[in-house]
Symmetry: C2
Subunit: 211 residues, 2 copies
DNA sequence: CGGCATACTTATGTATACAATCGTGTACAG
DNA sequence: CTGTACACGATTGTATACATAAGTATGCCG
């Protein structure tokens, strides 16, 4: 499986290639990706199940989220990230810790204005933290939630003054994991995600279009 | 959408109609459900994404879980059920509480040996509790986890002495929700699910085939 | 002039034909 | 007798033709 057009369409949706109300007709995608309707339909179905697109009437459009929905997803994610951090503190192997340390070092050398690089490495750090739980179900749930808001997450990292705090949080989190302290690791993760939500809310209040 | 054969196939998989290593060939399903390959393939893909079937080499088979995997899923579910109960204590409407009360009353009048009825109403109770959170993301995550182990959950409820404890837990949980006490509601839910996991582990130790 | 019915256009839902691939069995060689 | 290579069969992946239904525009009637 893992049809190439499935991934290409996903990337395009996440990269906001399509307007929020632009109908993703099978004919259009067929031409765009040079495949027939069958694999296109398959890709659309998968993205629909992932919550990245939705059927509106007959047409399929990229799914947008209201402010309430994004808050809701964030709140669920706070819970899962807390649980993941706590579990990682118990289950992480030496390799996991090494990889996390390396990623943090990488992040510390980035240009804080390069939003794209920030988002990319930040995501890699989170993904590695999830893997460090060695819990397939947790990883699956977190990936699912992350995907649904990935189109929006770029913005919080470039919020004035945010990036240094992120780095400090991660350093503290790693220390808690090194110390095998699940309670502290969970608290840090929960606080970190709560702050991210708070920033998002503030940004929304300042300019509702940032959604 | 909501193809009827998708639901039928799902029900059959959950009802263990197919052997764990029986290949679900499209030809066979085509004949069984009287549809062509296209909708059958669609159904298979959806079930695959739901984690109910998996591709083994070329064939698709119903997914089985090792003891470790089931424990892992339970542990994630403990976290989510705790969060859901806590949130329900805050967000539940009068209607939600009424529905939960009604379901509990129903459960108290069931024959404790009728495993099928127990499982059914128990599931309805959980589902209503999830809805009482009014959190689409939480509901989605819990539904996802539940589906993956639904084939196994029947058994814990009929474990000797378990059912009365379940009813007592639910009554206590409802009281916490009525009292709008999220901490207590979460604790009860977490304890309840932990006990369910413990029972499953005990059953597995007594007879590994119960998986 | 406005609303509703109806025909038409366009997109999706379904079936089937064709292509490619994977697994398997068999035959041959070492 | 065993390991490997090759060929065949079965099953899935892809393309396309056909059926159906939803959305839309137009024209007629009120």
């Amino acid at each position: 499986m893992a049809s190439p057009i499935h991934q290409r369409l996903r990337e395009d949706v996440l990269a906001s290639v399509f307007a929020p109300d632009e109908p993703l007709t099978e004919a259009k995608l067929t031409e765009r990706y040079g495949a027939s309707r069958t694999p296109v339909r398959e890709a659309l179905q998968r993205l629909e199940q992932d919550g990245l697109v939705e059927r509106r009437g007959k047409a399929v459009v990229v799914r947008t989220h209201s402010a309430e929905e994004i808050i809701d997803i964030y709140e669920s994610r706070i819970i899962l990230e807390q649980a993941a951090a706590a579990k990682a503190a118990v289950k992480a192997t030496a390799l996991d810790r090494q990889l996390l340390t390396g990623l943090l070092a990488q992040m510390q050398q980035l240009d804080p204005s390069d939003g794209r690089a920030l988002a990319e490495t930040n995501r890699a750090f989170h993904a590695q933290l999830w893997r460090a739980t060695h819990s397939p179900s947790l990883i699956g749930l977190l990936e699912r939630l992350d995907q649904q808001v990935r189109r929006y997450t770029l913005t919080t990292l470039t919020y004035p003054g945010r990036w240094p705090v992120v780095l400090a949080d991660y350093a503290e989190l790693l220390a808690a994991i090194e110390g095998a302290d699940p309670g502290r690791a969970g608290d840090i993760a929960a606080r970190h995600m709560s702050e991210a939500l708070a920033i998002r809310l503030k940004m929304y209040a300042e300019d509702p279009r940032t959604l």
